[in-house]
């Protein structure tokens, strides 16, 4: 079962000759700035068309992009969620389930980065898409919100692509990861293999201190990450 297939996909000046078959439930796209992560995610969501090659994807894909505030379009959080959830009741149910009813009457534009990110992800899944992409989910988030977001992503039933350079976060929610550099895919493998690969170092990415210790002790990094972010043994 695949969720996304990229066949010889190029987009002039951004990515070239990408071949991927993505079949894990959550997949992390890792790489330094400008390596093509955002481009890959937008192609996976159908927001960009490749200049050559072919992208097979779920029919509808939700997207939470880098700046969550750019996707808000109403004066209150509840009105805003209603836009994509269809009804106010459904919007309220989504907020309740996330434990965020207290934000219902706030302006989305005055939310903290952490709150805005979570609402943006909720908005992206509120129209029941068959897949989801989240660009830089943890940028600007403290540990509490990173954990919250990890639990949210972990609880979803649809395939998810996340992009960023937060290795520890990726290890906690993703089963597979893709490493990109200068618009090409360097490596696509399961998270544990990626975390112990020297390719990570070659593209200038570094796991956090806990993950490093786990690797040194020979523990499975993804298990340790799940423990830290999700409070489970995985």
């Amino acid at each position: 079962m695949f969720r996304w297939v990229f066949r010889n996909v190029s987009l002039v000046g951004r990515i070239r000759d990408v071949n991927l078959t993505i079949s894990s439930r959550v997949t992390a796209v890792l790489g330094p700035n400008g390596s093509g992560k955002t481009t890959l995610l937008k192609l996976a969501a159908g927001l960009l068309k490749p200049s050559s090659g072919e992208v097979l994807r779920p029919e509808s894909v939700g997207a939470s992009l880098q700046n969550p505030y750019l996707g808000f379009s109403s004066h209150t959080v509840i009105e805003d969620l209603t836009l994509s959830a269809g009804s106010r009741d459904e919007a309220l149910r989504i907020l309740r389930e996330a434990g965020l009813e207290h934000l219902a009457g706030r302006s989305p534009f005055t939310l903290s980065m952490g709150e805005a990110r979570i609402i943006s992800v909720l908005a992206a899944i509120s129209w029941n898409p068959e897949g989801l992409v989240i660009d830089e989910p943890t940028s600007g988030l403290d540990q509490r919100y990173r954990r919250w977001l990890a639990r949210l992503i972990d609880s979803l039933r649809i395939p998810v692509l996340i992009a960023g350079h937060d290795i520890d976060f990726a290890a906690s929610v993703a089963q597979e990861a893709i490493i990109m550099k200068r618009g090409t895919v360097l490596l696509h493998s399961n998270v544990d293999k990626i975390l112990s690969s020297e390719v990570l170092d070659r593209v200038g990415l570094e796991p956090g201190p806990i993950m490093k210790k786990a690797l040194k002790l020979g523990l499975s990094p993804s298990r340790v990450a799940r423990c830290v972010f999700l409070g489970s043994e995985g």
Partner: protein, 206 residues
Amino acid sequence: MYSSGQKAKITPPTVIAILALVLYMLVSGQVLAASIVGLIIGILGGIVFHMPLLILWIAVPTLVVVAVFHGVLAAIDTTIRVLTVSLTASGLISMLGLYNLRLFLEGLGVPPKASILPVLIARQADIFSMIVRESLDSLRGRGIKGVRLLFRLPIPVLVNAFESSAVLAEAILAKVPERRMSTLFWRPTGWDVLIFSLTLLSLYLL
């Protein structure tokens, strides 16, 4: 596109002369010739291919507003004129380079704090078109489509553009030196000759 210290393709006198010629053509009723010159300059300056959204944002509202009040024909005429002027001006400025425009303005005696204005406005245009694109994608990523998308788009664009503009203006103005920069000397380039010939050619042929 607007890197500082960029080499000018054309010289300031050409910019002014062509702009004046195009305006003259529009006033004297040679709209077709003027619009062709505008289009060519827009293409040569990279505006048509690099900022198609900007063109839509100028053309669509003009078309709609004038059509409502004065009918479709008047709307098309007005839109062509507005597009011609904006394509000519932005194309010429992009070929001159903003940094050189600033030097030119300072050479004319405009104080440094004011001559930075075109740079500021262009940076805002860059940011603005990025905000429009990202907001569009963000809303589509929430399943919002079609007419609803067009109605919803202005809200995030306006809220966020206002915020970024304020931050940017402050940052740029903080860096403007009080002292004037060196004066600029010009030698006509092949581009000056090319643009001039094209403009005069269309003026006489059409």
